[in-house]
Symmetry: C2
Subunit: 169 residues, 2 copies
């Protein structure tokens, strides 16, 4: 797919068909995340890929906004260490990695929807995390149940001329 | 350009030819940022586009790591309000918007390199920011002076199998 079509087709998808995602496509999505830039190239993340239905259903309980994981074809858990010095900057870096994976997914016709994590103890248990690691976000992936991804003409966003200032505020 | 080529061609570019970026391409990059997802669709950002050479040279002084702005064709300043409740989450959202703009730029053969902001007073003055706004990051854009963007075969990143865990940690 052309890049601009992938960027403009990406939308939050929270209901999925039962179709699995091929291992090659999952690896391509993860590779897009691995390549993302980060502060001083620290790459503060680890990614845990989950495709097991029972595990996805359990993971959907870690936050009230994570219910869509239960029907996803896969989820990628974004894992951070506990270095407080990197905590704030790591959020920006995780955002970059997330967007890279979401655009790579959209390029393959795969929808995505991310979720925060409320219950860290449950998430850590389900993912087998060491004590010094936390699950910062979960990104669900799957083929959209409602309609295929296609470029969105009028996205639900603030108007261009309100967001963009030229030269000065 | 195909999406995967844009994703794998993106790299930090900090030295630029003198070639300007067309207004249409700048708007396309900004549009990619405007469309980025954010927590509850809050879109906590404003973007200030700077193309004036003198202003870019002054902006390059807001941080020791912002020197490359002086020779950039353009810069986008990412502006946040002062709502502390949104501060942490906004970093993740800014990361998503940044990556979206960088991939959109790579698709056009345009390099990018972001910078933090140390001297908020100077940045605010140069950008004409209201007192309740801060400049969170600056992203420089321009055509690479060294070599054109092309897919990178072996990125300087941790190995795939170290970053990616399957099923559990």
């Amino acid at each position: 797919m052309q890049t601009w079509d992938a960027i403009t087709s990406r939308r939050n998808v929270r209901s999925y068909t039962g179709q699995p995602i091929s291992p090659e496509h999952l690896d391509q999505i993860l590779e897009a995340g691995r390549r993302a830039p980060s502060s001083r190239n620290t790459q503060p993340w680890d990614f845990v890929l989950v495709t097991d239905r029972d595990q996805l259903q359990e993971l959907s309980k870690v936050w009230v906004g994570a219910g869509h994981l239960a029907s996803a074809a896969a989820a990628v858990a974004l894992i951070l260490g506990d270095d407080p010095e990197h905590a704030r900057r790591a959020q920006f870096d995780l955002g970059q990695a997330t967007m890279s994976m979401m655009i790579a997914a959209a390029d393959l016709g795969i929808g995505s929807g991310h979720a925060g994590v409320g219950d860290q103890e449950l998430a850590g248990q389900l993912l087998g995390l060491p004590a010094d690691k936390t699950c910062a976000f979960l990104i669900a992936f799957g083929y959209p149940a409602d309609r295929p991804l296609a470029p969105i003409k009028r996205p639900d966003r603030r108007p261009f001329d309100e967001v963009v200032h030229r030269g000065r505020w």
